[in-house]
Amino acid sequence: MMANEPEYIGKINSEIRAMLKIVEGLGVVVQDALERKRKGTKGAAYAASVNIQHMEEEVTALCVGSLIRYQPFASDLRAITVALKVSYDMSRICRYLYNITEVLEEFDLDGCNVAGASELLKDALSMVSTSLTAYFDKNRSLASEIIERDHSIDERYRMILSAQRRSQSTSGDCILLNGLTARIIERLADHACYISSETTYLVTGRRVGYR
């Protein structure tokens, strides 16, 4: 039974919603840059990443302040410990998006097929958005679905790697671009799963051991 949520948890979650907005916005930019093999997004991605880090610090301050002021227990205590981890995960996800723009900046993109990595990013970003929906709605089954989807991401990550390994005609830049990007996306999706794992703990009080 979840009774009315205290105001301080609402404040913390509104900060996390603002983080999600930035991550989703940056996700659209990075997705487009990868699909179109477009350079020049690194600066904006870095600014977003720094912004998110500040917001994570703000969430930490709100959480610590609430712990001191209200000394919460049970679902309220779990809400705070989970918010601390979710805000960290959001910060990491944003950093990974920035890392993709760094990779795009680094290599020659001409003639490189990035369709696999691009699809992988699309799915990983969808996992991030859904994991946050599950978190805000305290939807345990949706959170479980996200964790299940991670197997597909891992499998496709390995497929991209083996395709690059087998390729005869692909340039070194293209192999590195695909390999590095796929690896970053695979880690990014892991953080969506961490958020889902925290959501499960938030709702049930039991850890599912995914982190």
């Binding site: 039974m1 009774a3 009315n4 205290p6 000394q71 919460p72 227990f73 049970a74 679902s75 309220d76 205590l77 779990r78 049930t204 009080g205 039991r206």
Partner: protein, 255 residues
């Protein structure tokens, strides 16, 4: 121990009445030796009645009744023990410090022992010193042992009362909101003391302060309307309670 039991207290089906009014309804729980158990719950839920059954104080008021089985080291305290023996084994500290006002600090500590004629003067002095040291009061009152117990501060008086209870070497110490009338510093001293007491004694403490219960206890029992709703390890109760009622109480939604 008379039986092969790992429980200090084994309570089953405990009912208690004030006349016609039932205050406890079928309470069953087991308490391990040398642990601190916190009893929490809203006012009127039966917390005080519960601990007063453990030292047979509930029956002192005419019309009050108790039924069920309450085993102390395997012996039924209502059938196999004299009430005075029970109270010697089960000490109690109350919400408001209640030192004997006409007695000195030292006499307060050894009042119980004197009453049963258990020791000589030298021995009583040694017992007083040891127990005042145990409650961290010795250094504060060393030079004032002849002063009235009532001349001490509230926090000192409460520790004096704990020393008085400890002097009887109880196996179980019952504490009924022992810090509710104390300032934060005195409260912290009593809480530290409770944690050290469990090296020798089984402590059962009633508190309205759920944060205090979380700080000092190993086990927590939540009572509501005379029933034991949930009992378990303190960390589990305060992080992931099973009962929605417990959840609502410890998050401050009611009570």
């Amino acid at each position: 121990m008379s039986n092969c039991t790992h429980e200090k207290l084994d309570i089953s089906g405990l009912d208690a009445w004030f006349g016609d009014k039932q205050a406890l309804k079928g309470v069953s729980l087991k308490i391990k030796p040398k642990t601190v158990t916190a009893i929490i719950g809203p006012s009127g839920c039966g917390k005080s009645t519960f601990i007063r059954c453990i030292n047979r104080m509930h029956e002192l008021t005419p019309g009050n009744r108790v039924s069920g089985v309450l085993l102390l080291d395997g012996v039924d305290i209502y059938k196999g023990m004299d009430s005075m023996d029970v109270r010697r084994k089960v000490g109690m500290v109350f919400q408001k410090p209640n030192p004997f006002p006409n007695m000195s600090v030292m006499d307060n500590v050894v009042a119980g022992l004197k009453l049963i004629g258990a020791a000589g003067k030298k021995e009583l002095e040694a017992v007083a010193e040891a127990n005042l040291k145990a409650v961290g009061l010795w250094k504060e009152v060393e030079g004032d042992l002849k002063k009235s117990g009532a001349s001490l501060s509230g926090g000192q008086q409460q520790r004096l009362c704990i020393a008085r209870a400890l002097a009887m070497r109880p196996e179980i110490m019952l504490m009924d909101e022992p810090t509710s009338a104390l300032d934060p510093a005195s409260t912290a001293k009593i809480e530290d003391l409770v944690k050290t007491l469990k090296a020798e004694t089984t402590v059962i403490i009633i508190t309205h302060n759920v944060q205090q219960a979380a700080r000092i206890s190993d086990m927590t029992a939540f009572f509501y309307l005379g029933e034991l709703i949930e009992y378990g390890e303190t960390r589990t109760i305060f992080e992931s309670p099973k009962s929605p009622l417990t959840e609502r109480y410890i998050t401050g939604r009611f009570g």
